[in-house]
Symmetry: C2
Subunit: 411 residues, 2 copies
């Protein structure tokens, strides 16, 4: 029997307790022995709860108990999670965490300590909730050179965009509905501005390159500027708009970014709706693979934590070579990446055809009835070239009292 | 450096050589040492090929060479693959195979020998080509009680059905096109009759239950009776028809079958087109997850074999607990599984409304212009109950010189 401790009895932490209880036998079989909760660390007491007698308020009780071999961190945020996790690893305890902020900010150091102490720092639950993605990267696609990893990594924004797409809802209304359903927080900034996705794609990029990725270097754009009109065009073009985090590995260069992306019906991410997440991974031999499931939620995320506990139990005396080194991975300037671009312009196309064609050549053009504007979709081009030509177009349009209304990257 | 041998230099075997060459460094890093091909077993010589000097015709050369630690089996078929693999395991060599027929027929015995000899019998490539699915089942979803596993497991039939769906092609024409493109064999029986899918769902079911599954007990229906008219109805109903292998675990009972399934736009398998495969896995905690990618093809399948070689290299002195025991898993009678049923009947609905409603209650009814027939979709019901009522309906219809034209399971 392995004694474990859980730090943080919130949604995920209590979910972990539930998974350990409901699937006790399956987990014991997989781990080779039973996983037994000895302590639950929380500021609060939980009288009447199943863990009532296991609650402790003092972290040192866990850290100093040599019987505790695996510690789950489901507190969230950087402090005190970081200090506690670091102390546990230093004390020779394995860690399973769902905390993406922690992994993105301090993963490099914590992985290094785990290696030194011959324990494991595991974080399957930090990206994609219940979707196995960290483990497939280090245990399944291990013979691949990964060329691209692109994911719908945030359930809240995917719910909002799905609402806007399927029901023609405005962003504000879709956000309010998401908040009412508990999918979005009262302060939704981390989700809708793409910060959450940014940390997750940083973690995935570090896994793929084997090097440290500074998430602050990844250009990040959220979905607050996406409107119901954009979705009218998307619909007319047989596409949808998704918030994705993406990294493309090109030789030693890595292009990484977070932004709304217009994708067609044939793209595997097109059908990923509501709070579901999916991660597309392209390898040089295997081609395109995709991993789909619940990207958040109590039990799916807790299930990923439990799987990490089993992984730790199976390697209780050794460090699995996962994660990344302290070598830094440079993020290539975003303007070198090649995409198509969807652009909306006020006025009628007929009047501005020459300007648009001069700037971008022959483009796919869409005009919707009842709107005093038009949209065009460029061919694939470097963002730098696109931005230059867009500036020229903007100047010319201004002279005609017209303007660019929207720009969205397209696949 | 680990010496390996490859048995069978056909499509997959030569693909494995290509992956080992192209991704030499990545694989070496993952495996902890280089994987070096010492022998390639084939009946033919391959003058001028990169493996020319490694070709051997005598299996004993491989089996008797203690330096060879990992043997890849990409010969296909049962013999001599079975005898060779068994001898290699007995000789203490690890096996990585892409041979689903071998795994479905002899997996139980070969897994047992591997356990006894403390080596590994690995078969990631036998199901879903390049899609990681075997490893996710034993290394990712290990804390889950799996409730259902349903997959599009055969690229050939998915290509044919996609053609029929998107272009209104007949089955015969779509098959011919698939043959012309090399997606279907000249004798397509194993694919179109569902036999290939049957072996694969048997392997997945055995992985999930931990018990031996006799693939011959799994009711298997192919796609030869699916017509372009069925797809007209499917289109009108916003659905598609896919050949799936499915197993539902319900307590100790397992309902498994292979058949065409009508699925709606919201089903994660709906968008899986052409030669792509995908496997949906439902767990009691994680909910629905899905794994998508190239289900066949030289390099994707070879990539899965290479990943197994890395897995073997990492566990060169120990047996990983995977697979199933020799205990037999009973397959519950197919007629107890609950589904909806899509039924086409000759004549007009108006004349037969009473009969249909008497047999199946209120159903969703579809009538297409220009066809002297109609279709209805039942509510969810046990197949046994459906079949009974269908018999009654058939008798009544015969009296009116009408008949049931088609029955397809629906989700």
């Amino acid at each position: 029997m392995i004694k474990v401790a859980i730090m943080g009895y919130g949604t995920i932490g209590s979910g972990v307790c539930e998974v350990l209880e409901s699937n006790r036998e399956v987990l014991a079989r997989a781990a080779g022995q039973e996983l037994d909760i000895k302590y639950v660390l929380d500021l609060r007491d939980f009288p009447g709860s199943p863990v009532e007698k296991k609650i402790v308020h003092d972290f040192d009780v866990i850290c100093r108990d040599p019987e505790v071999k695996i510690v789950v961190e489901t507190m969230g945020g950087l402090e005190p999670a970081y200090s506690f996790v670091k102390a546990c690893l230093e004390a020779g305890k394995h860690i399973a965490t769902s905390n993406k902020a922690l992994v993105a900010a301090h993963g490099t150091e914590l992985l290094a300590i785990a290696r030194k102490k011959q324990v494991n720092f595991l974080f399957e639950a930090s990206v994609g909730g219940g979707i196995p993605i960290i483990r497939p990267l280090y245990r399944c696609l291990m013979g691949e050179k990964i060329k691209e990893i692109t994911g719908i990594l945030n359930g809240t924004t995917n719910y909002i965009l799905t609402k806007m797409d399927k029901e023609g809802t405005s962003f504000d209304r879709a956000l309010k509905e998401a908040q009412a359903l508990g999918y979005a927080e009262r302060n939704p900034e981390a989700d809708v501005e793409g910060y959450d996705t940014c940390r997750k794609i940083a973690i995935l990029t570090a896994m793929v390159t084997g090097k440290e990725v500074n998430y602050e270097e990844i250009p990040t754009e959220g979905i607050t500027k996406i409107t119901d009109v954009d979705f009218k065009y998307a619909d007319a073009m047989g596409t949808s708009i998704k918030l994705v985090g993406s990294a493309r590995m090109d030789g030693g260069k890595v292009h990484a970014w977070v932004a709304p992306l217009m994708i067609g019906k044939d793209h595997p991410l097109y059908a990923v709706s509501d709070v579901y997440n999916a991660i597309l991974v392209k390898g040089n031999m295997v081609g395109t693979t995709m991993y789909y499931g619940s990207g958040a939620g109590k039990l799916p995320t807790a299930s990923a934590v439990a799987a990490d506990m089993v992984e730790a139990a199976r390697h209780i005396d050794s460090n699995i070579s996962i994660g990344w080194s302290s070598e830094k991975q440079a993020i290539a300037p975003a303007d070198q990446a090649v995409y198509r671009f969807f652009v909306r312009v006020s006025g009628t196309y007929e009047d501005r055809r020459d300007m648009v064609e001069a700037a971008f050549g022959k483009c796919k053009v869409v005009e919707l009835e009842g709107l005093d504007e038009f949209a065009f979709l460029t061919g694939p081009m470097k963002r730098s070239g696109f931005m230059e030509n867009l500036e020229i177009l903007k100047v010319e349009l201004t002279a005609e009292y017209q303007k660019v209304l929207q720009v969205i990257r397209a696949e």
